[in-house]
């Protein structure tokens, strides 16, 4: 039995070291991150904090984003210029005011899990809330992607919309109104609560807030 014990100890050291130093300790360290108030050096931002913090608001939307597998085509991670062309593509945030930058750990505060993504078959969504601030536009895209982009590979998420007969007048938030050829009746598609949550979540994706000088000078990357 001695051999087994010796082997198990060696194995536990081999795997335990990365487990402790790469996973457990950084997890505790990074879960203590909090938003940081801007200091006096940050001039126009004094009185607010980075990130502005709307934690917990968009959890439902993020759950739908995850369960539909959006993260398999859309990343939420902007790499610095030495590691990719993301910023040149305009994914880094608002172009005016020099906000555009790569993402940092605090940008994801309040999310259950950062859906950094697996592939880029679509564009990066870290700052889609700035790029596409129009909820109606996003609803139309989700309902029928081809309506907005001639060349797109995005599937339709029409199942997140209720299709129903128009009663008196079409609803304000109807994404599409059409007349059925057979019955001659007028139909409309309105977002379900899931679609609304998803769009709310997409609109909330803004990860370009100015990093307080105190943090950049500390250089801890968080």
């Amino acid at each position: 039995m001695d051999e087994l014990r010796k082997f198990t100890i060696k194995l536990a050291i081999c795997f335990g070291l990365p487990w402790l130093f790469l996973i457990v300790l950084p997890w505790f360290w990074l879960s203590n991150l909090e938003s940081v108030p801007y200091g006096d050096d940050d001039e126009e931002f004094v009185g607010t904090a980075y990130p502005p913090g709307e934690s917990g608001l968009h959890v439902t939307g993020q759950r739908i984003f995850a369960s539909e597998g959006c993260a398999y085509c859309h990343t939420q991670m902007v790499r610095p210029t030495y590691a990719g062309s993301d910023i040149w593509r305009g994914w880094g945030g608002r172009a005016e005011g020099g906000f555009s930058r790569s993402t940092r750990p605090r940008d994801y505060l309040g999310e259950n899990i950062a859906l950094l993504g697996a592939r880029r078959y679509g564009s990066d969504l870290s700052n889609v809330g700035w790029r596409r601030p129009d909820a109606a536009w996003l609803h139309e895209l989700l309902f029928d992607p081809k309506a907005h982009e001639a060349v797109t590979n995005m599937p339709s998420y029409a199942h997140l919309y209720d299709k129903r007969v128009v009663e008196s007048a079409a609803a304000d938030d109807a994404v599409k109104v059409w007349i059925d050829e057979e019955s001659g009746e007028e139909y409309e598609a309105v977002p379900t609560s899931e679609a609304k949550a998803l769009v709310d979540y997409l609109l909330s994706l803004k990860k370009d807030y100015r990093v307080p000088l105190a943090l950049t000078e500390a250089g801890d990357g968080s």
Binding site: A118, R119, R120
Partner: protein, 518 residues
């Protein structure tokens, strides 16, 4: 760590007793091993079908909506086909389902089947309480099925390789722990004498998995903490699963099968040791290079990248060791299915480690990160290396646990060539696809949609590769089914070789492949 498994030296009487013991062990392992292997093979076919569907959805998002519309509008088709059902076949749901079926349905079950049998054989311990193992196997399958249904219906977590919703992991962990207990108990009651290298690999893989799986799931589902660490743990888990589970199990099988087939010891004891410990020392640090340049403290992806590049050391050592064991007998690959699948699978190991190491450099990762090259890396490991080695193991184990020989050399041959085609396309061609996609994405003013348009020809190739794999594995499943029903060949118990062996050719101990020689 000994490298000579064939060292049962002794009198003829001792050898005869040992043969009887081995036959007895094989008869006790029959049910659990066949259970794990057949359910794994079924999941492999399911996963390959999902692979075709996911490639199709990626190639043309409108394909399934059009098909469903057509069903919906065609009068003679039952009208319960609902237009909205195409959502079940969208890329975002089918791709994770496909990967989960491949990993948890096929990979881990095939590994458990092969691992249990090899461990029992090397420890010379017959199975007891096989019923418990069968129950654990059912529990595992129930867990995977629940997870798959949940994924397709839209409950995935979008964490690659950990897509199953939170309620699945306790099932899988419980089932797995039973198998781990079996492995450890077998090891503790082994016959005295030196321990063979395959036993160490198996023991390590079976001990590490529960630790790894529990850590990943607790941090993802139970503790609420850092969002970015969740993503990092997902990346770490998938890499550790690859290097600490799939690779060791496949290497345990390779280290067991090659000397068995050729009747000679492993080339070098010291290389075996270096290969083993360098891999286990490095593997736990890999993984976070997936987010090179991402929102993690930058030392974390850097450590992952360095460790992944370091995996080239165990690669060189292990491949040299196995190659030198075969050395002048490479020609025997033409005849022995087991040796052919094992040695071909080893090429997949080379491919996987080299692609993984390449993607760990900024120079390459800025092109290849988040492209199809990731698929090439994963498929080189999961299909080319791991699956091919598992087929090798099963061509060896099958006759022993069922007591009859493989029926058709043609089916083995076609299984090999179709699977080999699939492996090379999935790993090799997808790398080319990833490079062209990444190069297009890197040019900042080309639309993202353009990079996918360029990729489409490669996606078609991927779908065709999965169709080939479906064909090859339906044949394998059918062949295995015949074996399970004990309808295999019984006349003359010499092994089924891919081609007839000319007189006088082949290694000295060629008869070891057949069931008769056990």
């Amino acid at each position: 760590m000994t490298t000579d498994e064939n060292s049962t030296q002794g009198s003829d009487a001792a050898e005869e007793n040992d043969a009887k013991l081995r036959a007895y062990i094989d008869s006790t392992t029959r049910l659990p091993v066949l259970f794990f292997f057949t359910s794994a093979a079924v999941w492999l076919v399911i996963s390959a079908v999902l692979g075709v569907i996911s490639s199709t959805s990626l190639k043309s998002a409108a394909f399934f909506p059009i098909i469903f519309t057509w069903f919906n509008e065609t009068i003679w088709v039952v009208n319960w086909v609902q237009l909205d059902w195409y959502q079940l076949l969208g890329y975002g749901r089918v791709y994770p389902a496909f990967m989960s079926a491949l990993i948890y349905g096929w990979g881990i079950q095939a590994g458990i089947g092969a691992g249990l049998w090899i461990m029992a054989r090397l420890c010379r311990v017959p199975f007891r309480n096989t019923l418990t193992l069968i129950v654990a196997g059912h529990l595992w399958n129930i867990g995977v099925t629940m997870g798959m249904i949940a994924l397709i219906c839209g409950n995935g977590t979008s964490v690659p390789w950990l897509d199953f919703p939170f309620f699945v992991w306790p099932f899988l962990l419980a089932a797995y722990l039973v198998v781990t207990v079996w492995i450890v108990v077998m090891f503790r009651s082994r016959r005295s004498g030196p321990v063979y290298v395959s036993q160490w690999y198996l023991l390590a893989a079976f001990l590490v998995f529960p630790w790894l799986y529990l850590t990943a799931n607790l941090f993802l589902h139970a503790f609420k903490g850092s969002a970015v660490m969740g993503a990092a743990i997902g990346a770490w888990y998938s890499s550790a699963l690859l290097y600490l589970w799939f690779v060791p199990i496949a290497l345990a099988a390779a280290y067991y099968l090659v000397p068995k087939i050729l009747g000679r010891p492993i080339y070098s004891n010291i290389l075996t040791k270096i290969g083993f410990w360098s891999m286990f020392a490095l593997a736990g640090w890999t993984g976070m290079q997936r987010y090179l340049g991402g929102p993690l403290p930058s030392w974390m992806p850097a450590v992952g990248a360095a460790a992944t590049i370091g995996m080239v050391l165990p690669l060189i050592v292990v491949v040299t060791n196995l190659y030198m064991t075969v050395r002048d007998q490479m020609g025997y690959m033409q005849y022995s299915p087991t040796l052919r699948f094992t040695m071909f699978g080893l090429l997949g190991f080379v491919m996987m480690v080299l692609v993984g190491a390449g993607m760990s450099f900024f120079e390459f990762s800025k092109f290849l990160q988040f492209t199809m090259a990731v698929e090439s890396y994963e498929m080189a490991g999961l299909y080319w290396f791991f699956s091919m080695t598992m087929f090798a193991a099963f061509y060896f184990i099958g006759p022993r646990v069922t007591g009859c020989e493989w029926l058709s050399r043609g089916m083995i041959r076609w299984h090999f060539w179709f699977s080999a085609y699939g492996s090379i396309v999935l790993a090799g061609w997808m790398l080319v696809g990833g490079i062209s996609q990444g190069a297009t994405l890197y040019v900042w003013d080309t639309p993202v949609a353009m990079s996918v348009e360029i990729l489409k020809i490669h996606i078609v190739a991927e779908a065709i590769a999965w169709i080939m794999i479906i064909i090859s594995n339906l044949m394998f499943l059918f062949h295995t089914g015949l074996m399970c029903l004990r309808l295999g060949r019984r006349s003359g118990m010499e092994p089924t070789l891919i081609h007839e062996l000319p007189k006088g050719a082949g290694p000295d101990a060629v008869a070891t492949e057949g069931a008769a020689a056990s």
